[in-house]
Subunit: 124 residues, 4 copies
């Protein structure tokens, strides 16, 4: 059995889904990249915070044991609601077992793509 | 009631507002991205440090409870003074309750944009 | 004798080797950048995690004392298996002595390159 | 008097000075961005580590009190030796008082620039 590693609570203050993509190899997207080092499945609860409206809560995602999962934020939804494009937001990830979380954005608004990435902030 | 999370004191050593933007979808900008997990409003005091002059102090910003706020640095001002473009500077964020802070820059000087982002450094 | 600094266990959740490179100065690549501050050689064991298959384990790399080593992920292999291009993965680095680890990606899929970098997450 | 904040010892494993710049607004460069929150001057000692040769040691830099300093790595030298371009290296920053350190790279090898940034790793 492999041990769980990392933390159970992670924050990413800068989320933004670029509203368009230029023609080319890539489509604009963001990923919440999770590593689950343990042998058990991890159960994640994701909350999305906005500037001007109530949070989108209780989005559930599972990450299998000894696997990574690069979650596209555009695929997340709760009660039929998903994250609008072109709007500033923030991400909270809670997990039932320790995991490690990184966030990356590929902005393909233009033919010339731009990339950014941060390790999320762990709440201990 | 939701609990405040994170830290009350954050540092970003590398600030720079690109002086120009190429025509296109984006304008060059920087954002101080804050998440306030608590149910209470957070009161922020921002200080801007320069290489060759006295700091710009006592810039006040409020972030509502259970909200994120992506603050454009070009919008900050104290006593009529704001951050000049094209000049290296650094940012200190103090908050009355714990928050989480990330900093991102979109440089649209050229038609081909560039992006960078860091989680700010927490002073504990 | 110089002392070892940093941590022995580091995680990078977002790995991805871009499948192609446009003609130009750069080829798409990722690097695991290690600094070994000590006078002794560091022995690293790297594990690669995937979304849909078993991890690639026991990849050995040595980093000489008082040296840095910027390891191209495309050069890593274990039992004849290496990391496929165009597939999301995650990286775990274990070292017998403390080191510091940063991860950077240059995406040269297009003529206009994109860069991202994070300090890896230390497990303490 | 303002108090010193941060740490006295910081590491950046991924240094690289791009060997060329395309014509345009920017020249390829890297900066070690320091914030000195205290009222006193900070005395820095920088060491540069390579993959295949002895470190470049005892590079001295001063950062004034209540100031930031964005140090171009290409400006650093010790005993007449400076950092060669196009070579992987790593950076260690020691300070006599606590400071905060971030590292950013602008790669203008191509007309389309790329940016990356990390907060340096603090040794506690």
């Amino acid at each position: 059995m492999h041990q769980a590693r990392g933390e159970k609570h992670w924050i990413i203050p800068d989320g933004f889904i670029p509203p368009k993509s230029a023609p080319g190899d890539y489509v604009s997207h963001e990923s919440i990249c999770v590593l689950n080092c343990s042998s058990e499945e991890a159960q994640l609860q994701i909350t999305i915070f906005f500037e001007d409206r109530e949070p989108l809560e209780n989005i559930s995602v599972a990450v299998a044991g000894r696997r990574t999962y690069h979650i596209r934020t555009s695929s997340l939804s709760a009660n039929g609601a998903s994250i609008p494009v072109g709007v500033p937001y923030a991400i909270e990830v809670l997990s039932d077992i320790p995991i490690i979380v990184q966030y990356s954005r590929l902005d393909a608004t233009q033919a010339a793509n731009a990339l950014m990435s941060v390790v999320a902030y762990p709440i201990k």
